[in-house]
Symmetry: C2
Subunit: 415 residues, 2 copies
């Protein structure tokens, strides 16, 4: 059942992909390498001009995949000259053979591009526990190189899909010190079907000229408010990878030396905004998702505590099924706050559903309108706000509901 | 929809309840008080002879219910003379009015029994966010007192059910220093239907003569291997309550002074064994459960780390749906180990499904038999063993699969 059953496109999908402009210094391409799937592209490449720098954030899993190990080992060593991503096989939990397959891929791509292997970034998504058939990848590479064009982002976004029901991309045009700068990003979500591994991959590129350490600092900060603020089922892939590349080609802005440079203000806002859009697209394509859910926690001890409480609410099966069933069961939100383990004052707790106060001071609000709350939960854009009454920490996270579709997708027989 | 829809009895339910003998010094009864449900008992009482001591373990929720607050405040103050438990209303997140309702109940029961209010233990399970209608409880108490008999355990077990599909009880006959001692326990599980709150309640009684601090020490230790080792969906109730009572009536064993007394050995084993049986019954009645799952983690840094890894596997929606779908997808077990955040050596990881090695040394086992593993997952008693290769810590937890039944039960409209 290579490629898995196909599932209907998420009702939360946007109308289509935005127009994705070329980024000076980057060419993109995709081919069918037959790693696992048939009749679709499954191998994507980006080629970067000399001078391109990279930044990366990876899974917190203690069982990270071979390509994650590879990227971690090369990050910060040299520049970035190529990115090779395959779908269909995650090359995770594959021991030394998996590490060798990753290296083989990087060496072959380096030869093709004319660079060192440690300038080739890798990502893999798909089945776990099977060594990546590197020979299929290396055999397809020369053909892949012929497909490279500056604006083939849409093809790239499609090639990295596993059980995503729509391709994901975003663009921002901004400026550094008044000079135009463009950022383009693509992502794949945590669509998962046996035997594929839920994985979030995202690749973002800009023509700005940024030192590698500045790009890394910007990425680390922005990921906190974007990809670290979404959840589908609380499960963490062995392969989650977010890479950013800055080519420094075709723009003439004032030099950047520190992440705190004031002339980076617009760029930082646009970069973070683009990552939030990509992250939200991933949540909107969660397995079986019918509703997009925004959870905001305020009044926590600090920002970290606020996010932990928000994620606990977002990951609670009881909250997620209540949303699926349009049951404005705020008692389950109380339960989730209680189990998060962070400081909360039960007797000051306040909850809003769809902007309306349903509970405050540790008890139901006297004017709570259950019918209005239920009506809000029947929509596909659900908002939950909780103030836990102990401090000023706040956080917003995004998730989706837990539906029969999730069970259908994930309880499928593997063959 | 008072009482919720009724769901079919779990396929994992035992044949029936065991014979439950009287415990000297305890009388038990149940009546229909009409707290929320109609046509069934919903109020349970135990009356204890003077001299009875109590021990308790409660939810870790930061939003604990009023009866949990009450029990915590009286534990260790005096003895135990009564226990009053209602179903249908959890009296949780009800502020000062909820605390007052709890106190009213305790005071009324104390009057009836002829003791101080701080010798009356309370538990409530059911809807959250509504104050317990104490007047319904106090009105029913005199009638309830007339139903008290030494052996009405089965009625008690039924009265505390919410959406449990079967009543849960266990018995152990053991000895202290050669003298016969009996332990009886009842429990209700985390059956949950909107708007009822998933809650685990369990009450255990023995005729042994035990100092309160010894009983507390035994309970705290045994809960670790029993109720703290089960999970249905990882959600924690505001109301979880486990109480143990020792009457010291009708037995003539040698005095106990410390939890480490060697003549307590048989009792300790029987007590822990009974709690494990009750905890397993709760897991077997998880919402929508079709399969009982035992997860054993070895080779962890310590016991706490082992349990965290085991619970992460047990709570992973991807693992639970794989089990529901009879998909022996051990890659999801790797994922769960990775996300647990505890030390694990990916390159030494070994996994057994149904006793058969499927992976070792960080890669699939060369003789892995996928068909045999799938066959094991098709049964209703699934065993997963993981060695994480870093130490000697081990733990076993029990859970159930995640099925369409769970969504059906929990995504129901509240009205």
């Amino acid at each position: 059942m290579a490629g898995g059953k196909s599932h209907p496109v998420s009702p939360l999908a946007p109308e289509g992909m935005p127009e994705l402009p070329a980024i000076a210094g980057i060419e993109v391409g995709a081919v069918e390498a037959g790693v696992r799937y048939k009749g679709r592209t499954d191998l994507m490449m980006m080629r970067f001009a000399p001078g391109t720098v990279a930044a990366g954030v990876f899974t917190t899993s203690k069982c990270a995949s071979a390509p994650v190990d590879w990227c971690r080992s090369i990050l910060g060593k040299g520049g970035a000259r190529a990115l090779i991503v395959n779908s269909g096989n995650a090359n995770a939990f594959t021991g030394k053979a998996g590490a060798a397959a990753a290296k083989t891929t990087a060496v072959a791509a380096a030869k093709l591009v004319g660079c060192k292997a440690d300038a080739v970034f890798l990502a893999s998504t798909g089945v776990i526990g099977e060594v990546l058939p590197a020979e299929k990848v290396t055999a397809a590479l020369p053909r892949l190189a012929t497909t490279l064009k500056p604006d083939r982002w849409a093809e790239a976004a499609r090639a990295i899909m596993t059980t995503d029901t729509f391709p994901k991309a975003a663009v921002r045009k901004t400026d550094i010190d008044g000079k135009p700068v463009t950022i383009v990003g693509i992502a794949k979500g945590s669509g998962m079907i046996a035997p594929d591994m839920a994985t979030m991959l995202s690749f973002v590129a800009t023509d700005a000229t940024l030192p590698a350490d500045v790009l890394q600092a910007l990425l680390a900060k922005a990921v906190d408010k974007s990809f670290n603020a979404i959840t589908v089922d609380g499960d963490t892939s062995t392969s989650d990878t977010l890479l950013a590349f800055a080519t420094g080609k075709g723009t003439t802005h004032k030099a950047v030396t520190k992440a705190t440079d004031t002339h980076l203000r617009n760029f930082k806002a646009a970069f973070e905004d683009l990552l939030i859009e990509l992250a939200q697209l991933v949540a909107k394509d969660g397995e079986g998702a019918q509703k997009f859910v925004t959870i905001t926690v305020t009044g926590a001890q600090n920002q970290k505590a606020a996010r932990k409480i928000a994620l606990t609410i977002a990951n609670s099966p009881l909250v997620k099924t209540a949303i699926a069933g349009a049951d404005a069961n705020w008692g389950r939100v109380v339960m989730a706050v209680g189990k998060a383990g962070e400081k909360a004052d039960r007797d000051k707790l306040a909850i809003k559903l769809g902007g309306r106060l349903v509970a405050e001071k540790g008890a139901v609000h006297p004017k709570h309108d259950d019918a209005a709350a239920t009506e809000h939960f029947k929509g596909n854009d659900v908002k939950i706000e909780v103030d836990v009454g102990v401090g000023t920490g706040s956080a917003t996270v995004w998730t989706c509901d837990l539906t029969h579709g999730y069970i259908d997708i994930n309880a499928d027989y593997r063959s």
